[in-house]
Symmetry: C2
């Protein structure tokens, strides 16, 4: 069989275009409704997509005046969606900077149980100062320190997922043995940031470990992805950049001893689809006309750590006095993407804002279903992508256009599944189900965890027998 | 209209009896299934109950060998249940000792949105050392310190719920104004445990503030409940104790300036129901025969902080050398309940274990629906309860018996609703919808939050206008 594409639907409120909420096809209040997201998930599942995905942010500021940022907890939405879908993967973003690994491990194990093995965790370190100020910090930890914490956080979460071996819940009604405590393990982690005894309170979930996803493209982000990520969401404007990234990431994964084929690289794309190219272009223009420039200036100012005003709108971005990239302690990838865009295409501030408003730096394709399918195939065949993170600019309408228009073409070309072959997200991605690092022989002696990680000590120990007489 | 009872279904795995999972009517694996809890919630909703409720624990130990402790994240289950029910309240336990108020405020606001105003938070401080060891601590914080943290935690969460005024999301498609930022407020909290700028990322939820529930009966717990709780789950063996508690709590609430009628006291009861008294007694005996004594000894040892063995089983509990209650830094209420029980009824260790296994210290009623209804009415009329936390020993079967047998009798007596009058948990409990503490006049000047709390400083501030030119 031909190598197969992976497609993820990146859901966001009523669509990825900043002005989506103002469009006549949108209900601007839908982002707080379970029904809206259940319907979107079902549409994506009708298209046999691998997964749906929610980003997350832990602060809103004045930009909310013109933007539907903020909303519900992504895990809350996915737990609701889980019971209204059968096959589609469910990926939520959770920050490692403001959470504890015990809490996060339990939350994803729970989603994995409720969904029958469809949970994925998009690991982020959270880049913004306003987020830090909601979580007891005056300033954010610097970039490298956040990734050190992230590594330890994930190591602990993985050990906790492994702390119950498969089959530990024997539920022997005759003997009264509910759990074989020889197959449940304390993890006894001691590290720089966390001290966690374990075991987790939740038995091992259908996937063993929920799928690990990551989205940063900085140097620290790439190293982290190479070590941990099974799928990588990324943002590139050109095929060449995307291919260079994929090649680099595969090489890094190989260097740390992983099979590069088990790291799926999924660039974000914003497909603006019409029955004709003219119709698609008209929709794109209609959306751009609904942008609020004050808001765009505030957003771009945040990314560039500058204060831009209306007077700057028609200046070429490359002519601004930009801070040194090394001094950006926030979303550094986003900073570089914007400045590259400005330089490469000689765009004005206004034009950059329109690009950001249309897809926040992700590649926008405007055209017919056939044209969109052509571009996806081109990137896929050229090794720039293992699939795509599909960011419909209007949701539901443009997600429906993608599912009903683009997917059948990809299926006809033999590039995408007509039916789900498996029932878990790991199966959709072609990833193996990991064994518990604690699973050993049937001996009664204690066995230390020798895991994936080097961020602290793990000293696994079987649960003691209960007090008895 | 007669004063009305409030009834909550306390859901736990396949039932509250320790041996429920061994009973032929149970699927011992059901506790990891969304469908199981959705069906239980629908049964409770069919009975027009006020709410369903999940306890929580953040550690499992060797006792899991014989006990279905551990399981899924209660909030995950309730987010799933929310979209399969229409009216019933959804109460989850979340600890203040191992969470951050921003995370918790967002989680409950999200559940409140997804459920259309049915969320409640059962606030616990978490008493056990194993829980502390899962969250970076070698020893747990002492009892009073945990309650200080809890008070500040709740103060911050309430301020965050209030940080979006009602109607702040104007979604004016014509002007492009999505949010009226004059109605969204930073909370600027600085306290002993937390520093939180705000606002919350989630707009104000249908109830304004999810309902606050509390369950501790110690001195610290009562003071906390008097100040914060809108419903109190409690455990008493006798009507007299329950009445004394209710009188005490109402007096404490009045002393801090609250209306005592807005604090609902709901003792836990375990109704073992049969068509005849003999059938009910046979079921109770059948369940007790399935108890595992090793497990019971381990549990009781934990509560008493003693090491008990089989040789102790037939000793009167009152003859054991018990530690001083002041030295118990865990679940002190549970310790006192068990030792009182041993003293008052001169029970042996074995008998106390059977009581604990049957209802963990809550009152067990065994009888026909009529007899159970009589006892509920007696407690209610005597002022010992505003309603009950119904802990069916086998779930679903005994919850169904309660809903189909006991509820109609209470309805016929005019003590319980035949239909829901409202759609939110606050409406079921007869509680007002609180105004945002930030809601003021229409002036443009900043206005400090003057809230419920004295655990730190709050200095509310409207969101600044976006950067503009």
């Amino acid at each position: 069989m031909t190598r197969q594409l992976h497609l993820n639907a990146f859901l966001m409120n009523v669509g990825h275009h900043e002005a989506a909420w103002r469009h006549p096809l949108s209900d601007p209040h839908a982002g707080r409704s379970a029904r809206h997201f259940i319907d979107l998930a079902r549409t994506a599942e009708r298209g046999k997509l691998d997964s749906i995905f929610f980003a997350d942010g832990l602060a809103v500021g004045a930009a909310v005046r013109h933007n539907t940022q903020g909303g519900l907890d992504p895990l809350a939405i996915l737990n609701a969606v889980a019971t209204h879908t059968e096959r589609i993967g469910l990926i939520a973003t959770v920050s490692t900077s403001f959470t504890h690994p015990f809490t996060v491990a339990r939350a994803f194990a729970s989603l994995d149980h409720l969904s029958g093995g469809r949970a994925g965790w998009n690991i982020v370190t959270s880049g913004s100062e306003p987020e830090a100020r909601n979580f007891d910090l005056d300033r954010h930890h610097e970039h490298a320190a956040r990734y050190r914490r992230a590594a330890e956080h994930v190591d602990v979460a993985v050990a906790l997922w492994d702390s119950w071996e498969d089959g530990a819940v024997v539920a022997d009604t005759a003997s009264g043995e509910y759990v074989d405590t020889g197959r449940v393990h304390e993890i006894r982690h001691r590290g720089e940031h966390f001290a966690v005894q374990g075991p987790l309170t939740t038995p091992r979930s259908p996937q063993g470990r929920p799928v690990l996803v990551q989205a940063g493209s900085s140097e620290d982000g790439r190293e982290f992805a190479a070590r941990y990520a099974e799928a990588v969401f990324t943002a590139w404007q050109t095929l060449e950049e995307a291919r260079a990234f994929a090649v680099d990431l595969r090489a890094r994964a190989a260097r740390v001893g992983r099979d590069p084929d088990l790291v799926k690289v999924l660039p974000g794309i914003v497909p603006v689809i019409g029955d004709t190219e003219a119709e698609a272009r008209a929709l794109a223009a209609e959306l751009d006309e609904l942008l609020v420039w004050d808001h765009g200036l505030a957003q771009l100012s945040g990314i560039l750590t500058l204060s831009l005003g209306h007077a700057d709108l028609d200046r070429p971005l490359a002519e601004l006095e930009l801070p040194d990239p090394g001094r950006i302690n926030g979303n550094r990838s986003r900073y570089e993407l914007v400045t590259d865009l400005g330089r490469r295409e000689r765009l004005t501030v206004r034009q950059v804002i329109a690009r950001l408003g249309g897809g926040r730096g992700h590649r926008t394709f405007t055209g017919t279903p056939e044209q969109v399918a052509d571009t996806l195939e081109e990137w896929f065949t050229a090794g720039a992508a293992d699939g795509f993170n599909v960011m419909a600019p209007l949701q539901p309408s443009q997600l429906e256009r993608f599912v009903d228009g683009v997917v059948p073409i990809l299926q006809d070309r033999g590039l995408f599944r007509r039916e789900y072959a498996g029932s878990t997200l790991r199966e959709h991605y072609g990833l193996p189900r990991p064994a518990s690092a604690f699973a050993g022989g049937g001996t009664a002696t204690s066995r230390p965890l020798t895991g994936t990680a080097a961020t602290g000590t793990f000293a696994g120990r079987r649960l003691a027998a209960p007090v008895a007489g």
